[in-house]
Amino acid sequence: MAGTSGGFARKDLLGLKDLSAEEIGHLLDVAEQFRGLNLRAVKKVPTLRGKSVIHLFLEPSTRTKTSFDIAAKRLSADTFSISGSSSSTTKGETLLDTAKNLAAMHPDIIILRHKRSGGAALLARELPHTSIVNAGDGFCEHPTQGLLDLLTIRRSIGGFRGRVVSIVGDIMHSRVARSAIYGLRTLGAEVRVCGPRTLIPPGLDSLGVEAHDHLETALPGADVVMMLRIQQERLERGGHYFPSTREYSRIWGLNRSKLERWARKDVIVMHPGPVNRGVELEPELADSRWSVILDQVENGVAVRMAVLYLVLGGERAARSEGRGQ
């Protein structure tokens, strides 16, 4: 199932970890074409007409789900939505049982968000005729977020090789950070992470990622600063990762004066949303000239269109090989 050079021939998109630079590059190139479509007066093409896409979101999500839904509908797919509270998972049904039942209705794609790391990979293994797109699995990966971050970076600064990206915040629990790190490293960017030591996972060395304790060393020379959301849940649920929101904000929060003091003039600031204004980002920073946060959201739709388009194409290619063409 390895990707062919210059294309993307996989049935599923589970993460960026196993993708080659060529596959990621192809995904971004196709997404670039879809960006144009999203600016047209008629934002719809018949490409996925007659295909069914199920959104199986067993963890809360507004932005990602909306973005996937818009992407699927602009490609003319029929979409069906199942969320955590309305699904039988609340009656104790396992993820696999839910998915097998859905698969028996012959959808073409299931887009899964699940709290369990590896949930999407499990479905991809068990459902050979349905394409699985990972929309976030536990602390593992969020590949379409990673791709939209990569597309935003490529459009903003032109490329990856030799560029420096600093990711700041709760790296440990962040699937956003993990997907970004895999993608950025594969494409040749230098990656730094910065945050409280309790939130920096071990094993980053092997990925070639530099860990920093302070913004004072993480910011200088960086082309991109990617701020992560501090999840209030981490504090409330008796987490002892850092003493208080206020202290976190003082040390690892980003504001204008820190940017002006330590960062390059043309640095861009990213954030996967939703922003806790005043915690990881000074309130006005999200709307400042440094911010590309809304570009990320815009690119998200294009990236998801590219993913839906390509996973179905990949399956088709695999099946026609099976027919002995």
């Binding site: 074409q33 047209r40 008629v42 093409v45 018949p46 490409t47 295909k51 388009y309 194409g313 026609s320």
Partner: protein, 181 residues
């Protein structure tokens, strides 16, 4: 598998055909209606560019030029065996009220043209659409015919037709390449 290639037109022949097509387009089109030449990617694009130059020479007015990629509108996207690559559709003008001449290198089943017309209508409402092709090789599967034809050739359904414009270092020409019998 043996492949034999037969030349239908040489580079000069292609150029002569294009000149004739350009003059037919000029004669046929009402000068009051703004004219746009839209090449179907990828084979139609260089021909549309060349035709636009020739039309401009004949009328002293440059027609609008666009490109259309029909990949997303194909009816065989998920059944065809070839892996489609996605190109860019560029229509840098509002289509409404334009006379649009779609340009492609080869007319075969007609499915590409159907897809292209579908896509054009998602961009706007042209006054009319006409079709110019360099080579019509028959085997239509839809009720679609070209308004301007460079050359009609007999072909087998399994054949391929390839067109290359004459340019620096390339002789150019149109070739019929035999497929498996």
């Amino acid at each position: 598998m043996t492949q034999n290639s037969k030349q239908i037109l040489d580079g000069e022949g292609v150029e002569r055909c294009l000149k004739r097509l350009a003059s037919e387009i000029v004669d046929d089109c009402d000068p009051e209606v703004p004219l746009a030449l839209v090449g179907i990617r990828s084979g139609g694009m260089p021909l549309a560019e060349r035709l636009a130059q020739l039309v401009e020479v004949a009328t002293n007015r440059a027609p609008s030029l666009g490109a259309i990629d029909i990949t997303l509108y194909r009816d065989d996207l998920y059944t065809g065996l070839e892996k489609p690559s996605l190109g860019e559709t560029v229509l840098p003008f509002a289509l409404d009220g334009y006379g649009v001449v779609l340009v492609d290198d080869v007319l075969f089943t007609g499915r590409t043209v159907r897809a292209a017309m579908g896509e054009l209508h998602d961009y706007g409402r042209p006054r009319w659409i006409r079709l110019a092709v360099l080579v019509d090789r028959g085997h239509r599967e839809l009720p679609i015919q070209a308004d301007f034809v460079g050359r009609r050739v007999e072909s087998k359904a399994s054949d391929r037709v390839q067109v290359e414009l004459k340019r620096d270092g390339v002789a150019g020409g149109a070739f019929l390449i035999g497929g498996q019998a």
